[in-house]
């Protein structure tokens, strides 16, 4: 199986879907001539032309709305936000238009659109360019939200997102674009709504998604080597709809759980995961569920402060030891 970067896996998904379906087109800032701010759309302008790879003005609200309008009459736009931080300007179109058109038209209008771009913390980009929007977007009925952690999942989920008849949010890890992994050639689809056990274990479940999957895997390695703990790593992959079956199957076996995310603690994705567990697996729990999140502060610029704000392997190990009553 070929090894690709996360970036190139996304690029492959876009290329294959544009080759497969003439209604698929890309819209966003710097996606064409510049080849994408993060080079995800590299080479696509040359292959598909300016009709299908459309450079926009810096006008997130406007071009997100253009995408929604085109989707309302049957095209399949892939709207790129240079980062999700800028997509806040477009939230009205994502939430009030894309997510609600099908419902408020009594099922007459569908909105098959993908909103994608980098999300989550980056390196020393400070408060406005380094944050995770997962919980905000996963809150909205009418949207599907995916957050792939590996190149293979990035390709498979983006392809599924483009073929879906609903608005799908694709949260790409800003720090993941250069990571490498094996990616199946051609028709590789990861179904939306399915979590993935990235490492099997028996003592505790580490629930994670996007960039925190790599942290959880490292923590699991460390826990096995240094503490004799067998941790299972469950990658949610999709944040809406949540794969409760896979989640609960793991937690009811390990009886302990730590939920890790890049977002803030208050009303975060982890809060939803914990809610599912306490409702459906209360009697299986041997300890309260712990959470590892970003500190409840805007992201600081200083490197040391930034490190202190983010989830880390050390924080995951500490939380895991805590739920195992090892301290």
């Amino acid at each position: 199986m070929p090894t690709l970067t996360y970036r190139d896996a996304l690029n492959q998904a876009l290329r294959e879907e544009m080759q497969r379906d003439g209604d698929v087109f890309i819209l966003g800032e710097e996606v064409g001539v510049y080849q994408g701010a993060y080079k995800v759309s590299r080479g696509l302008l040359e292959e598909f032309g300016a009709r299908r790879v459309v450079d926009t003005p810096i006008a997130e609200l406007g071009f997100a709305g253009v995408g929604v309008g085109a989707a309302m009459v049957g095209l399949r736009p892939v709207v790129e936000f240079m980062t999700w931080n800028f997509a806040l300007l477009a939230l009205d179109q994502i939430v009030n238009s894309a997510a609600k058109l099908h419902y408020m038209s009594g099922g007459q209008v569908s909105c098959p659109i993908v909103f994608r771009g980098p999300n989550g913390s980056a390196l020393q980009l400070a408060a406005q360019h380094s944050q995770a929007w997962d919980a905000w977007l996963a809150h909205i009925p009418g949207l599907k939200v995916v957050a792939p952690a590996t190149p293979a999942d990035a390709k498979g989920l983006l392809k599924s997102a483009i073929r879906d008849n609903n608005p799908v949010i694709v949260l790409e890890g800003e720090m993941l674009y250069n990571t490498k992994g094996e990616v199946p050639d051609g028709e590789h689809l990861v179904p939306i709504g399915s979590a993935d056990v990235k490492r099997s274990g028996t003592d505790v479940t580490l629930v994670c998604h996007s960039k925190t999957v790599a942290l959880a895997l490292k923590a699991a390695e460390h826990l096995a080597g240094e503490h004799g703990v067998s941790a299972e790593v469950v990658d949610l992959r999709t944040l809406r709809p949540l794969d409760e079956v896979t989640l609960l199957a793991s937690v009811t076996r390990t009886n302990r759980c730590v939920v890790i995310e890049e977002g803030w603690r208050h009303a975060g994705i982890g809060a939803q995961v914990v809610d599912v567990i306490q409702r459906e697996a209360f009697d299986s729990l041997d300890a309260p569920v712990a959470r590892v999140t970003q500190a409840d502060v805007p992201m600081p610029y200083n490197k040391l402060l930034e490190r202190a704000a983010k989830p880390s392997v050390e924080k995951i190990v500490a939380a895991t030891r805590h739920v195992l009553y090892l301290d």
Partner: protein, 332 residues
């Protein structure tokens, strides 16, 4: 009823068309009057923004369109839906929240949709739908079609960023879209000149290198002709137009706003009512001998009966099934 064949372009044909315009405006007027009554008795809930006074804008502009052209509007959209031929029973049923409504009772007054007539809604966030119109026009051009998309919005939406972003992209990409601003002078209770540095909406077109026209919105023919010119620029050629259509709402902003409120005087409202677009066209038709007083009365009786039937239908129609709550959140 057997009718003689009418040659297009003749006075008789023009008379028939004008009678159609008058009927359409009257239908909107009588429909909205009944909607106000039903709202007052609690049968219609939520927000309800009436179109009374503005009828010539919807009717004149839609008369210039083809069946396969697209329309999209704001939350004051009953008039455009009716002028487009959406059945009054389905619109009234939607206002009543019934399952037989245009949006199965899930949208209400602000979210009328009829995709079969390319009526793409009823949108509730001021200016939020203007980029959608640019997107629909983008899709038309993408597919090499020759339809146009008309986007209705009030003058208050001109102060929103979405308006400027949408006009800019429509002009840069040469898209077949007509931005039709219904300038009724007040955004809710705020007079436009109190909050807009540029009070002639048409002037904004200069910023986007776009054709524009100022139109008398109380003259249905003027609206129709201006829209025809805009359609000609858009169809095939892809040149967008900004139309500023000056009109006036005779009612409050919504049903919760008194007739003239504290932000405008009773005298002002009364003065505007003397420019009533329906009275104006009726007088023109009488003068031209197309319609006499009895004919006008008969037309009104016919329209009232249609609206009464719509009310009767909506009253009797069933509510959505409880299971409708969770359907249509996602498409299959």
């Amino acid at each position: 009823m057997a009718t003689a064949t009418v040659q297009p372009g003749t006075a008789a044909a023009r008379g028939d068309l004008d009678r159609g315009l008058l009927r359409s405006m009257l239908l909107i007027r009588r429909f909205e009057e009944k909607a106000a009554e039903a709202y007052a008795t609690g049968k219609i809930g939520g927000f309800c923004h009436l179109y009374i006074g503005q009828e010539a804008v919807a009717v004149g502009s839609i008369a210039a369109l083809r069946q396969d052209d697209y329309l999209i509007s704001s939350y004051r959209e009953h008039g455009q839906a009716l002028a487009r031929g959406v059945s009054p029973t389905a619109v009234m049923a939607e206002l009543y929240g019934k399952a037989a409504g245009t949006s199965k009772g899930k949208g209400g007054s602000m979210h009328l949709f009829d995709v079969s007539r390319h009526f793409m809604g009823g949108h509730g966030i001021v200016g939020g739908h203007i980029p959608l119109a640019t997107g629909i026009a983008f899709a038309i051009k993408y597919r090499g079609g020759d339809q146009v998309c008309v986007c209705y919005f009030g003058e208050a939406a001109v102060n929103i960023g979405a308006f400027h972003e949408a006009l800019n992209m429509a002009s840069v990409w040469k898209l077949p879209v007509i931005f039709l601003c219904e300038n009724n002078r007040y955004g809710m209770g705020t007079a436009f000149e109190r909050v807009a540095a540029v009070t002639d909406v048409v002037e904004h077109a200069c910023s986007y290198d776009m054709a524009a026209e100022l139109v008398d919105g109380m003259d249905v023919h003027a609206v129709q002709r201006a829209t025809e010119r805009a359609v000609n620029r858009a169809r095939g050629g892809g040149h967008p137009t900004l139309l500023e259509v000056r009109t006036y709402r005779f009612m409050g902003h919504s049903m919760s706003d008194p007739l003239h409120g504290v932000y405008r005087t009773k005298d002002e409202v009364e003065e505007q009512k003397r420019k009533d677009p329906i009275t104006r066209l009726a007088a023109e038709l009488q003068e031209a001998g197309v319609l006499d007083k009895d004919g006008l009365k008969a037309l009104d009786v016919e329209v009232k009966a249609e609206v009464d039937a719509a009310v009767k239908f909506a009253e009797a129609a069933p509510d959505p099934e409880p299971s409708a709550l969770e359907s249509h959140v996602l498409a299959d």
